[in-house]
């Protein structure tokens, strides 16, 4: 039985369709990423789950109850926005306390204890008396997380929580958020446009594009068996090849470079060689394909002495070739 069910949600803003018959479900304790390019409707979906927007059609079932039209204050969730929306005139502790103080059933001591516990969880206890603008980006992000978690919400919503941070902090926070999420076993829905983030953090990914769900699956499934050319090229790099109504696709690392010319192999011209550490990416082209990506281990590239302008031969293993009929 799933914890959250999104049933046939449709949302329009005037004539613009933001969500078109979107359905998905989230299991209890799971971290699900909604992944898609900007404008695909992912943030709108999150706001509908939060109750900040109301769908034109469809249902949101949370914990077995229809909550489609429930107001945000009655839904018991925590939310972290891309901007964090920390109250700048309150300290870190003040931010965390702001929501807790509304809970009439909690005693003063409990409120205090819970806010400190939340800050300990995100390792910010020593900064509790600072104001948000005095913190680094990562600390601000963790303050927002503590504020959201302090109320013991039954689920957590993260709207692009890491995209305002620099690359290094971002990678570090990915695992921190994931660790906290697992230790609390809190159902979490995170919106992101960053495929690396989705692949590394999510238990399952909902890939969206143009107001519809393209695919739902584990990171492995999404990467290995993309259900459409869109998913294939949005998540990771993919060579896409179209013949009449059939689209073929293969990942750059699955293409095999061979030395000798077989009649089934494809002759391509090397345009650019890019050293990427353990892997080397080769940008090649043939008669009607302007750009083909090939990833091979750097050692092998060295051994083969790949040079710009050279011709090389590619083998496409059938088991890694994906096919879709339009």
């Amino acid at each position: 039985m799933s914890f959250l069910e999104i049933r046939n949600i449709t949302k329009r803003f005037n004539e613009q369709i933001a969500l078109n018959n979107v359905s998905a479900s989230v299991k209890k304790g799971e971290l699900v990423c909604i992944l898609g390019p900007s404008g695909c409707g992912k943030t709108t979906l999150l706001r509908i789950i939060a109750g900040l927007e109301t769908a034109n059609l469809g249902q949101i079932i949370i914990d077995g109850k229809d909550q489609t039209y429930t107001q945000p204050k009655d839904r018991n969730f925590g939310i972290v926005f891309q901007s964090y929306a920390l109250f700048p005139n309150m300290t870190v502790l003040g931010n965390v306390l702001f929501g807790l103080k509304q809970r009439r059933e909690l005693s003063k001591e409990e409120v205090h204890a819970r806010s400190l516990e939340a800050l300990r969880l995100v390792d910010l206890l020593e900064h509790k008396d600072k104001y948000p603008r005095q913190l680094s980006g990562g600390q601000q992000q963790r303050t927002a997380l503590a504020r959201a978690l302090a109320l013991s919400p039954s689920y957590l919503l993260l709207d692009e929580p890491l995209s305002a941070l620099d690359a290094k902090v971002r990678v570090k926070l990915r695992s921190e958020i994931k660790t906290i999420q697992k230790s609390l076993a809190i159902t979490t829905i995170m919106v992101t446009h960053d495929q690396d983030e989705a692949l590394t953090m999510a238990d399952r990914i909902i890939v969206m594009n143009n107001a519809i769900v393209e695919q739902i699956g584990t990171p492995r499934e999404i990467y290995d068996c993309p259900s459409s050319a869109f998913v294939a090229s949005f998540v990771g790099t993919m060579n896409v090849y179209q013949q009449k109504s059939v689209t073929y696709a293969i990942r750059p690392e699955k293409l095999e470079v061979v030395n000798r010319h077989d009649k089934y192999d494809l002759a391509v011209n090397v345009n650019e060689v890019e050293f990427k550490g353990p892997l080397t990416r080769i940008y090649a082209s043939c008669a009607d394909a302007p750009e083909i990506y090939i990833d091979i281990p750097s050692e092998k590239a060295d051994a083969m002495r790949v040079r710009i302008g050279a011709t090389m031969f590619l083998k496409t293993p059938q088991k890694h070739l994906r096919r879709w009929t339009v």
Binding site: P72, F98, R147, F230, D288
Partner: protein, 586 residues
């Protein structure tokens, strides 16, 4: 054969899928359920404030127009009142007069305003801060007082007249000078804002091409401020066109529309003719309002975000020239203030100039010192209630999650008072509230109606100040609060209001100062029991007691300057406090 065009095709196919779902998405029967998702507290607050505002804004206006189109007996008159008006040369002569004095004073104040603003924003002359505050001096006094100060200098027994220079003050000349003084700060402020933002890149590029400073002014600066200039002309024209105070004091037999209304209503009790003149007063105000809307919407997109700071070059002759202009204007303002002070402090102007505080012992027959304390009460009451009302109104219009139609109506209504001259507000308020059939009649004759008319009269500028400050706040504060179950009013009180404190103080000061100096709206609305200072000045002046009038004017100026200083001090403290929390962008 690789084809990346395939991706494009796929995207197109998705679009087709999207297009297939278009209409008929909402099933009937859902309406009841959807009601649950509405935040009724917020909706009720928004509806309540809009209703109050619309009632106070539109109710009186409708009364005004119905009076203009009705006979004295209350029957439909059609255009009969207007026909009668235009057939009476003694009345229509005022139209020409009003246009005449408005044009001249606009020309003068726009010219001086531009020079003064240019001096303060684009030169390196000394004493800029001093000049800036001095330029604002006229806004701290009722227009009556500008005129009165002129009387002390150029009147029949004026100081300068006594020295042998008679400029024939009473009438056209006096009104033009007084209106120039009155509208100068507006022109100066508007030009300053326009000139403050300059794209340094354009001037640097022009320099590198060897373009002369004069050509730079014509080709770069002027095009930048042309819309502001149009706006300034209309605003100043409208202010002069609708002002009542100055012509009341030094108009003599030179009639203008504003004094005509007063005579019709207070002198002849001809409400219908008063209403007719009132509607005429609306014409330039409405025109100015429309021009302002249009030019602002064009202006909004002119400054590039990549503009660099404009560096003012060294140029001694330029600085000296502008310094002389500023000194001249400042001396004029200082002379007026000094004349006012001399008038107030002399024993019996101009016969016995010995120092005396006698003029501050106000006769109770013309209002007495009570009128000053009443004015203070009214100004504080106006500032407090106006600030609270404007801020909550702006908050709901700016930050409500839904109700986009109501928010749009709220924005539209908020701008309308800008097009209503004080005389028109006062006049329409009598027609609306002094009506036995109106249950709101009970506030007629109380301080409440004065406060209400002031809040309405000065609503639009504070609304813009408030929305401007609120727009800078993260729009997700409200979402976060809602998710934590914090009620909206708490977010307003504990987050938005503290962060907007500088704007709130500015709004408070704006309401206070304007309530202290206003005459036009309240002249029809005060009661004998609740005399106010600005009106008392007219009575003192009518009774020939201009020394007391000057003393009262001086008290108004004094309190306004004190409030302004307190405001500046408070802003400094608040900004320092926010800076300690490193909140700098509010």
């Amino acid at each position: 054969m690789f084809s990346f065009a395939g991706l494009v095709e796929l995207a197109k196919a998705d679009q087709v899928k999207t297009d297939q779902v278009k209409s008929g998405l909402v099933k009937p029967g859902l309406a009841k359920q959807r009601l649950r998702s509405i935040n009724f507290g917020q909706l009720a607050a928004l509806l309540l404030l809009l209703t109050i505002f619309a009632l106070i804004l539109l109710g009186p206006l409708i009364s005004l127009f119905s009076k203009a189109f009705m006979t004295k007996g209350g029957d439909w008159a059609g255009l009969a009142n207007y026909t009668q008006y235009f057939k009476t040369p003694s009345l229509t002569i005022s139209i020409g007069n009003t246009i005449d004095i408005s044009l001249w004073s606009t020309l003068f104040s726009a010219t001086f305003g531009l020079l003064f603003a240019y001096a303060l924003t684009r030169t390196r002359m000394v004493g800029k801060l001093f000049f800036k505050y001095l330029a604002l001096l006229p806004i701290f006094m009722p227009t009556l007082i500008h005129a009165l100060a002129l009387v002390f200098l150029f009147g029949k027994q004026g100081i300068i007249t006594q020295l042998g220079l008679d400029i024939n003050l009473y009438g056209r000349t006096g009104i033009i000078i007084a209106e120039t003084i009155y509208t100068f700060p507006q022109a100066f402020l508007m030009f300053s804002i326009a000139l403050e933002y300059a794209d340094g890149r354009l001037y640097e590029a022009a320099d590198s091409m060897g373009v002369s400073p004069f050509t730079q002014f014509i080709k770069i600066t002027l095009p930048d401020i042309k819309y502001t200039a149009v706006n300034v002309l209309f605003v100043c024209f409208t202010l002069a066109f609708t002002d009542f105070g100055a012509p009341k004091v030094i108009g003599g037999s030179y009639n203008v529309l504003a004094t005509d209304i007063y005579k019709q209503i207070v002198g002849q009790f001809d409400m219908n003719m008063g209403a007719v003149v009132g509607t005429l007063l609306l014409i330039p105000a409405l025109l100015s309002f429309v021009v302002g809307k249009v030019t602002n919407s064009i202006n909004a997109s002119t400054l590039s975000s990549r503009a660099t700071n404009f560096k003012i070059k060294k140029c001694m002759p330029r600085d000296v020239a502008f310094f002389i202009v500023c000194i001249a204007v400042s001396l004029a303002f200082l002379a007026l203030t000094a004349a006012l002070l001399i008038g107030a402090l002399s024993k019996y102007f101009p016969y016995d100039m010995s120092l005396s505080l006698q003029s501050f012992m106000f006769d109770s027959s013309t209002g007495g010192i009570n009128s000053f304390s009443h004015s203070l009460q009214m100004a504080i009451f106006t500032a407090v209630s106006g600030t609270v009302f404007v801020f909550i109104y702006a908050y709901l219009v700016e930050k409500s999650q839904r109700f986009s139609l109501l928010k749009k109506i709220g924005r539209l209504l908020s701008a309308l008072p800008l097009a209503l001259p004080g005389m028109v507000i006062g006049l329409s308020f009598i027609f609306f509230f002094n009506n036995a059939n109106n249950p709101l009649n009970i506030i007629y004759g109380t301080v409440l109606i004065l406060v209400l008319s002031n809040v309405l009269h000065y609503f639009s500028v504070p609304f813009l100040t408030a929305t401007g400050a609120l727009k800078k706040l993260d729009s997700e504060f409200e979402c976060v609060s809602e998710s934590m179950g914090v009620p909206g009013y708490k977010t307003l009180l504990m987050v938005s209001a503290p962060l907007c404190l500088p704007a709130i103080l500015e709004i408070f000061m704006y309401f206070f100062v304007n309530a202290m100096v206003t005459v036009s709206a309240v002249v029809f609305l005060y009661s004998a029991q609740f005399q106010i200072a600005a009106i008392a000045i007219t009575h003192m002046e009518e009774a020939g007691n201009i020394s007391q009038a000057a003393a009262m004017g001086f008290l108004i100026l004094l309190i306004n300057v004190i409030v302004r200083i307190l405001y500046e001090a408070a802003i400094k403290i608040v900004k320092a406090k926010l800076a300690r929390k490193e909140i700098t962008n509010v």
